[in-house]
């Protein structure tokens, strides 16, 4: 047997192995996709179903028995759900600008050099990542400041994440020093440098941070469960929790005459309506997300 023949046979065997490898690989990935998507699809199907069908569903549910929009109509009219949506939107609108401003200020200071007290200030900021007062001291503090049972308690206390500030700082450090230097030489002060030179250059990072903050705020239920007791101040996640997980509140019929028909679907429709905005935005920003995570994790 000549050498080339041996080599060819070896290559053939290897190709067979690689083919098997590929088949397994693609099957695994398709499996992952299905397992990821099915639970979401299940919720969507239930949200388009009526209560009697939901009680009957068994096994893999792929399509609503009788397609109906009744539950969605009810979501947009149910006072408790509509009100909690309003609260969530208010909190989002209030906290996003505040969070971004604070993050930019914090990041800018951490990216500057030469200040005598920089080390001390940065140490004070970083220490809070590793140690905190804890649940009850935080609660007493919020009560003390008069924020308890107000939407401000959901906006102010957690408005600055040190982790995000570090991402911001890293982006600002990537700006060439000469740009800032020349502005200083022209007589600009730090505010002008920050707003005219630094901010326009870190816009993509700010977009990512806005999304991080926005998603975290929108999905947060814990803060409200500690700081809010009034049920008409609760954000949407807490309503979903109360209705679907704790069962301590059942949605009132609120004057709907066909309430029972859609009471089950209503829960799932609320989930869909609360989740869709987040899931719609993120594919467009996926590549920025990746960048932000990398910076934070590798250089943080």
């Amino acid at each position: 047997m000549t050498r080339t023949k041996v080599r060819m046979r070896r290559r053939k065997r290897k190709n067979g192995k690689d083919l098997l490898f590929n088949v397994i690989l693609y099957l695994l990935m398709i499996g992952l996709v299905l397992v990821t998507l099915y639970p979401m699809w299940y919720v969507i199907v239930l949200s388009f179903s009526n209560s009697t069908d939901i009680a009957k569903y068994t096994g893999l549910v792929l399509w609503p028995e009788q397609f109906t929009l009744g539950a969605y109509k009810m979501v947009f009219e149910h006072p408790l759900i509509v009100n909690s949506f309003k609260n969530s939107v208010l909190v989002l609108l209030g906290s996003l600008p505040l969070s971004l401003v604070m993050t930019v200020l914090c990041g800018y200071f951490m990216a500057c050099t030469g200040m005598m007290f920089k080390k001390l200030v940065v140490a004070l900021i970083l220490f809070t990542m590793f140690f905190s007062g804890g649940l009850i001291p935080g609660l007493l503090n919020v009560k003390d400041l008069g924020l308890y049972d107000t939407l401000l308690a959901l906006i102010i206390p957690g408005c600055l994440s040190v982790y995000n500030a570090i991402i911001c700082k890293t982006a600002m450090e990537a700006i060439p020093d000469s740009l800032k230097e020349s502005a200083y030489i022209d007589g600009a002060n730090d505010f002008q440098v920050l707003f005219k030179i630094v901010l326009p250059l870190v816009k993509p990072t700010l977009a990512v941070l806005a999304l991080y903050y926005g998603v975290a705020r929108w999905n947060d239920w814990f803060t409200a469960s500690v700081y809010i007791t009034e049920s008409d101040l609760l954000p949407i996640q807490n309503i979903i929790r109360a209705v679907l997980l704790v069962n301590d509140v059942s949605l009132s019929s609120a004057g709907f005459d066909n309430f029972d028909q859609y009471s089950e679907g209503l829960k799932y429709a609320a989930i869909v309506v609360s989740t869709v905005p987040v899931l719609c935005i993120y594919p467009f920003l996926q590549k920025y997300f990746t960048k932000g995570v990398m910076i934070g994790a590798v250089k943080g």
Partner: protein, 327 residues
Amino acid sequence: MSRSIAYKQKARRLAAEGGRPGSAATLRKRIARDFKRHKFKYLIVLPVLIYFILFHYKPMYGIVIAFQRFRASVGIAGSPWVGFDNFARFLQDPYFWQLLRNTFTISLLTLVFSFPAPILLALLLNEIRVRWFKRTVQTISYMPHFIAMVVACAMIKAFCQTNGIFNDIIALFGGTRANLLSNTSLFYPIYILSGIWQGVGWNSIIYLAALSGIDQEQYEAARVDGAGRLRQMISITLPGLLPTISMLLILNLGSILNVGYEKILLLYQPLTYEVADVISTYVYRKGLLDADFSYSTAVGLFNSVVNLFFLLVANKISKKMGQSGLF
């Protein structure tokens, strides 16, 4: 031109360091000069500092109630001091060992099962040659990360109900239907598997980023030597990921007591407290539901201090191993 900028930079640097070396500026003068030179920078950080003092350092002062029998009506100033009584109570609490055991069990299970999952996914994604397929899988696998914890737990609950899909499968094989979430022996599998579902895609991002830094010529060399795809994955890709893996492992060890208490709070029930109750959830129950403020704060402080200890140890180890460490 460039020289003039260099001189200016040098002058600025010297000024920032408090004048020329050798000029005998007193500390007070140096501080005054520093504040004057950097007044805008300090002004910029002022709101940030106020925020941290008001919402992080002031609550830290509130920890003193762990050493008191706190009554809200009289506040910290009027409450009687009790020394370490609350801590002693916790150590003698019949729940103590159970809480500690559950916390460490859940942490270790997460480390053993949830930690390697994204590494595996990144390795597999890296092998996909069809670009659009890879991108689609990635985009879909990130999705669960954006689903609210409450919603994810509501889905888990729906699937685990007696008429949920898991019970349908059990019934198909002749088992009896039961609420899976009230079964103590199923709590960990449910917690861990759903955790992987939620995080595997998102957590693989960092490994995929590290993969792009691997020298492509190594693969070329391996191919010449006749190494198959699996062999390349094990001998080139995996070692290329090791620095990232060890860094994240150390970070994880440093927060070993920080189990996902939000998720446990949403999923557990009195029937499963025996295996699911961890220190953080106990703090939440004692503090918010039983309003035992001092005791809850003491337990929370215990948790924070142990955590801080682990973090420092992990940091030390990482420095010993030649990694950069956190601080």
